[in-house]
């Protein structure tokens, strides 16, 4: 608090611009310090730790082990397996979410009764904490008394109760269903908000020109929504790459390692096997994967942009 006073005393010439700079520094400071100390420094520190042999039990003694953590990761195959599971999970859940979300957003954007109430009600799963959603779906999936098996059996869709979460083939899909339940509302709301931003007269003009509903969707709705789609699918991808609670609660990565994603694998390595160094190495490689992913993602949408431009 001393500085502004001093500056004022020194003269008016310094004033406006310098005051602006000081003001800016003061208001940016809290966020900057917070982000630096809980994200900036930790990320650098964990990159550094990935080259050491550090155990949770003996954090004081860090022994440089060159690239041993990394070598181990590639030697035992679990790491590569977990990357495969992660990508399978992320792409499936985001793709399904996007298609279903688009369908529901189109329905709610049309003229159906109670749509305002519906828009509110369908958002509730989104505020339900993830682990609560996980527990809820575990109860629905429960093999003997779970309501889902009962319904499917009554409808004669299955003959025997399914072991949703302990079946190697099914477990990942079961987790995806729970993820879908939790995440679909957000997707729908965002797409719906995007749709409502499209001027109605575009559709009127298209109707006069004799465009069908399908053509209107393909040539008006989709292109106009492009930025929204890019943002929401990216948010969904990022969120699901990091997804931890659903897997941890519902399967703990099992059966065997059928649902061991990067998040589960790295957590287990660092905090169950207590090998912080190796955990940090997974994090470092994961970071590289994310960089490549976001680069590819931007390229993907940039290609779409080029095409759109040439069509006009």
């Amino acid at each position: 608090m001393h500085k502004p006073v001093q500056l004022e005393r020194r003269g008016v010439r310094l004033s406006e611009k310098a005051k602006d700079a000081i003001f800016l520094a003061v208001i940016i400071c809290p966020a900057f310090i917070l982000l630096l100390s809980t994200i900036g420094i930790p990320i650098v520190k964990s990159l550094y730790m990935s080259f050491f042999q550090v155990s949770l039990l003996s954090m004081k003694s860090q022994v440089w082990n060159s690239f041993d953590n990394y070598k181990q990761l590639f030697a035992d195959g679990d790491f590569v397996h977990s990357i495969g599971v992660t990508f399978r999970y992320v792409f499936s859940v985001v793709a399904i979410q996007f298609v279903l979300g688009m369908a529901l957003a189109l329905i709610l954007n049309g003229k159906i009764p109670f749509r305002r109430a519906l828009r509110t009600v369908i958002l509730i799963p989104w505020v339900v904490p993830t682990i609560i959603g996980a527990l809820l779906w575990m109860w629905l999936f429960q093999p003997q008394y779970g309501v889902l098996n009962y319904i499917l059996q009554t409808l004669r869709l299955i003959d025997q109760p399914l072991q949703w979460l302990s079946d190697m083939q099914l477990a990942l899909w079961a987790v995806m269903l729970a993820a879908l339940w939790k995440q679909l509302p957000f997707m729908v709301t965002m797409l719906l908000a995007g749709m409502q931003g499209i001027p109605g007269d575009m559709y009127e003009a298209a109707t006069i020109d004799g465009a069908s509903k399908r053509q209107q969707f393909l040539y008006i709705t989709l292109p106009m929504l492009k930025n929204t789609i890019k943002t929401v699918t990216l948010i969904a991808c990022i969120e699901n790459f990091k997804m931890f609670p659903l897997f941890w609660i519902m399967t703990s990565g099992g059966p065997v390692d059928a649902t061991t994603t990067l998040a589960i694998f790295s957590y287990k390595t660092a905090f169950i096997d207590l090998d912080l160094g190796k955990g940090a190495a997974i994090g470092a490689l994961w970071l590289i994967i994310m960089l490549l992913f976001s680069w590819g993602y931007n390229r993907l949408f940039a290609i779409g942009e080029g095409k759109g431009g040439s069509a006009h």
């Binding site: 400071c29 990320i43 958002l123 993830t130 660092a270 955990g279 970071l287």
Partner: protein, 278 residues
């Protein structure tokens, strides 16, 4: 032709009904289960409506001191991180909205890209850093960690709100001799109320949802938050006590759903502003 038209009109309704069933039925089932006695719980075919509702699970839950502790911790941590997020995001968002400076777009971009960082890297380093500064097993430590989880997107959201307020208002206040902080607090902030509400609710929801940070950074039972507490208490048992679990779930959802229903308007507008325009 007419058949087709009827079908075309009915299809959206059927679709909406199917989605509604998928999204709402599980919640109904949770609520129903929490009122089922142990004999009704395992009945096949199940009771679809509360035939003989019992309150025993709720009574048992609220008699259990540990759960009220978890609750209090979750609320404290939630309010704490929300308050810090609000202050830090408001200031930073205003700075990013009103001032031009070097590396501004780089800074904004890096703030957002922190969302992509692998959680485990952050956790491992935070764990060792916290260990060194005695922040492990403290609510303060958890609050700080959770604040940074919601801060990046909050800055983006509130910046969009500030962008929409005409600068002319501030300029006339400046001519009238108002200080910079005075302008921010007395003129800009009241106009950004919806934005402030939406980031407040966003960060509270995020901290209420947190599981990983509190699982890792806290291992004293009296400091645990609700989510971590539930998982420690109920997961990994040989047979799950489903009625009690659903009861805890209901009580965990109640505060957050009420908050949501009251402030729904703000939240949706805030998120769409941040995500779609930003």
């Amino acid at each position: 032709m007419r058949q087709r038209r009827i079908f075309g009109a009915a299809l959206p309704l059927l679709g909406a009904a199917a989605f509604l069933l998928f999204l709402v039925f599980p919640l109904y089932w949770m609520l129903l289960t929490s009122f089922k006695g142990n004999s009704a719980l395992f009945r096949i075919p199940p009771d679809w409506f509360p035939s003989e509702p019992v309150l025993s699970h709720y009574k048992k839950l609220f008699a259990d001191n540990v759960f009220t502790t978890y609750y209090r911790n979750s609320l404290l941590v939630g309010f704490g991180s929300t308050a810090i997020t609000l202050i830090a995001a408001m200031f930073a968002g205003y700075g990013f909205s009103r001032f031009e400076f070097r590396f501004k777009s780089l800074a904004l971009f890096s703030i957002l890209s922190t969302q992509m960082l692998p959680v485990v890297s952050l956790l491992i380093a935070l764990y060792t850093i916290y260990n060194g500064y005695g922040l492990l097993n403290t609510r303060t430590g958890l609050v700080i960690a959770l604040t940074t989880a919601s801060l990046p997107f909050s800055i983006w959201m509130i910046k969009v709100f500030f962008d929409n307020i005409p600068v002319a208002l501030e300029e006339s206040a400046k001519i009238d001799g108002a200080s910079r902080f005075g302008i921010l607090f007395r003129i800009v902030m009241p106009l950004t109320k919806p934005g402030i509400f939406s980031i407040g609710i966003y960060s509270f929801i995020l901290s209420w949802d947190d599981f990983l940070y509190s699982l890792t950074l806290i291992n004293k039972d009296e400091l645990r938050t609700l989510n971590a507490g539930i998982s420690i208490r109920y997961i990994g048992e040989l047979s799950y006590d489903w009625a009690s679990i659903m009861t805890v779930c209901v009580t965990s959802i109640v505060p957050i759903s009420l908050l949501f229903l009251f402030f729904q308007k703000y939240m949706v507008s805030g998120l769409t502003a941040g995500a779609v325009k930003g």
